[in-house]
Amino acid sequence: MPPPPQPPAFLATRRGLLRMGAGTAAVLSAGSSLFLSRCNGHYDALVPAGQQPRVLSGKQFAVLATFVDCILPDEPGWPTAVETRVALRIDHELAFHHDQLVDDFRAALYLVEYGDFLHGGFTRFTRMTQPERDAHLHRMQRGWSLEKQAFINLRLLAVFFHYTDERTWQHIGYAGPMFPVASRPPADNRA
């Protein structure tokens, strides 16, 4: 059937993000488990107040929230990414997908957080200043295939979920649906 370009290609599925090889995939998967699964004070401080992830660990969620904040920085008069709960909706969305896809997602976050190490640096993404984070994302955007895939998919998810929030619509010239919301899908990532 036709159409099209339904929403963005978003995320990677099936080992997609790990296509650089089984060995590297194993290292990244192990890394994401070892380094991002336990929470500590640094990461706790990055988690938006009142937002509890269901699928991701506290550290993973903190990296995601920091990434989202970088993609969608606050702008006076606009709803913030914390208000639209972008990171939390992404986390909740993962609950509806199979384990491999979720593992790929975790690996993408691992690349964001520790990607600097791959280029000879020693700074985690969440420890960077804002200009450093922007530079890091620019490098990912132009980096190895795997880095590019991680960046483009995470970015797409962040933007999509932010701009499906009705509070953003007046800013982008969208009048919204013709009907009030009649029923949420049972499998709702807002819930």
Partner: protein, 517 residues
């Protein structure tokens, strides 16, 4: 109407049927309708949910509708994430989100299927009576003036200015008001999807429909189909809820769609001596370009492709070297959040583009892909798709982007944005050559792939095909495939009419000959 949804499932079920149909899209609904009308006891199984506007399910929100009606909730992609799989996961299948363009497969394509792949009984002449019936039943008509949105008008103007032939596109709609939410499922039942056409007809003839019911396996013994085993899904979690379904039937019709039918057969362990199961995947990758205009375009209003051009449908080669063509080119339609997600950059740069969203126009092409991909199952039985846009397909995409950019500039765009991650911007037609070098690999650019086909291809020769010319599996009698998976290649136009016409051919064989063989 006899429809069972997840909330009505109280325990394990065992059913018998003259035919069990796996999938309720264009292929499955059409064959089910015909069999039920012939008096067969038909059971339709759909892994997705049952959604209808009358219950308020079609709320026109991108996020809600993506979760309801899209396969993988919009997140399924090929292994390297270059291609986003666009397919249906709901009663009515992809016809619920499709654009409703309605093409007959061009004669050159059905001739090549016959000549190169041994497909018989599906020639242009043999399909014609079915096309005529479908066009009447689905109210297929050329797009009318009032349905042409600003993007359609700009496409028309721009294309003519650069010498590209423009034509109206046939639409399967009735009483369309141009709400612009075609891809979210029509809230007004105007789009003639299977939900409002062949499914109600099938149910009225006595067919039953189980939604939220995922088929795990087709069962078969000694070369004959014996039924299916399925699990009911909890729609709140998208995971199995416990109860199972066992259907006993000597006629199993797989119509799970071009991305999933081959996976059903693989999970079922059907023989594959030809080695063609899961191969030959083609899916019409869709390169897009965007234009920044000084006027409101509003890509999410009215119908998507009221006009378009067939001028470049066939590729042109010179001494074996690609010159141009190999695609259909249309005005694009995208809802706001999806459009925003495709705009490049982040932070202030991205926000600046978002404030101009209504002034962004776009063209889209369906690439008639030459190279093919494949699908395998991982250890858990999940499909892993592979489809690379390389070689001549890469060249075709670039040519389609050039033609699209030329149209946008000629229509008044002050800038053209490519859909690459870096956000390449063309300031004028003189920069068109940059399209030749823009990075399009995984992580650089994403393509929607909406028209999957080929992975259970049809043919006379069991050594080269999966199903025979009656849609029946070469090695498992009583196992049929009725969806675009049987097309040997992409049909080079929107496949919906072709899928339905093929299902009519299959239904005719089943009702007139199969029980006698």
């Amino acid at each position: 109407m006899d429809i069972l949804e997840w909330t009505g499932v109280k325990g394990d079920l065992v059913e018998t049927a003259d035919a069990v149909v796996i999938g309720s899209g264009c292929g499955g609904a059409t064959v089910a309708k015909e069999l039920a009308a012939a008096g067969w006891k038909v059971l339709i199984l759909e892994s997705g949910g049952y959604y209808v506007p009358e219950r308020g399910d079609f709320d026109q929100r991108e996020d809600d509708m993506l979760a309801r009606i899209d396969g993988g909730r919009g997140l399924h992609a090929t292994a390297d994430t270059q291609c986003n799989l666009t397919y249906g996961h709901n009663v009515g299948g992809a016809s619920v989100h499709y654009w409703a363009e309605s093409w007959r497969t061009p004669r050159d394509r059905t001739e090549s299927w016959e000549r190169e792949f041994g497909v018989e009984g599906h020639s242009d002449d043999e399909l014609r009576p079915y096309y005529e019936r479908l066009e009447k039943d689905l109210n297929v008509h050329l797009a009318t003036d009032e349905r042409l949105n600003r993007m359609n008008q700009l496409f028309d103007r721009g294309a003519r200015a650069v010498g590209i032939h423009v034509e109206r596109v046939l639409q399967a709609r009735k009483n369309c008001i141009g709400s612009g939410y075609c891809m979210q499922g029509c809230s007004f039942n105007a789009k003639q999807s299977q939900l409002v056409t062949h499914l109600p007809a099938a149910l009225a003839s006595g067919a039953r429909l189980f939604a939220d019911c995922r088929v795990e396996q087709v069962t078969h013994e000694r070369g004959r189909a014996t039924g299916v085993f399925a699990r009911f899904l909890d729609r709140r979690t998208a995971k199995p809820m416990g109860p199972t379904l066992t259907v006993k039937s000597d006629c199993v019709i797989v119509a799970a769609g071009g991305f999933q039918s081959a996976a059903v057969l693989m999970r079922s362990g059907v023989p594959d001596p030809s080695g063609q199961l899961g191969k030959n995947l083609r899916a019409n990758p869709c390169p897009m370009v965007f234009g920044l205009f000084n006027e409101d375009v509003v890509l999410w209003k009215n119908i998507p492709a009221g006009v378009g051009t067939m001028q470049y449908r066939l590729p042109r080669f010179d001494a074996g070297k690609y010159v141009e063509g190999g695609y259909l080119l249309y005005p694009n339609q995208l809802p706001p959040a999806a459009l925003g997600a495709l705009m490049p950059g982040w932070g202030k740069d991205h926000r600046a583009l978002m404030t101009q969203l209504p002034r962004i126009g776009s063209t889209i092409a369906w690439i008639d892909d030459v190279n093919s991909g494949s699908m395998t199952l991982d250890a858990q039985g999940h499909p892993v798709w592979q489809l690379d846009i390389t070689g001549v397909d890469d060249l075709i995409c670039r040519d389609a982007m050039k033609k699209g950019a030329a149209i946008l500039f000629a229509a008044g765009a002050r800038e053209v944005l490519l859909a690459d991650s870096l956000g390449t911007r063309l300031r004028g037609p003189d920069e068109m050559a940059r399209i030749d070098t823009v990075a399009m690999g995984p992580g650089d650019m994403m393509f929607s792939v909406p028209h999957p086909c080929g992975m259970t291809r049809m043919g006379r020769d069991p050594a080269r095909s999966v199903v025979d010319n009656n849609h029946q599996h070469h090695q498992v009698k009583g196992l049929f495939v009725c969806d675009p998976s049987v097309f040997p290649t992409a049909p080079s136009v929107d496949p919906s009419l072709t899928i339905m016409a093929f299902s009519y051919v299959a239904a005719r064989f089943l009702t007139e000959k199969w029980r006698k063989t």
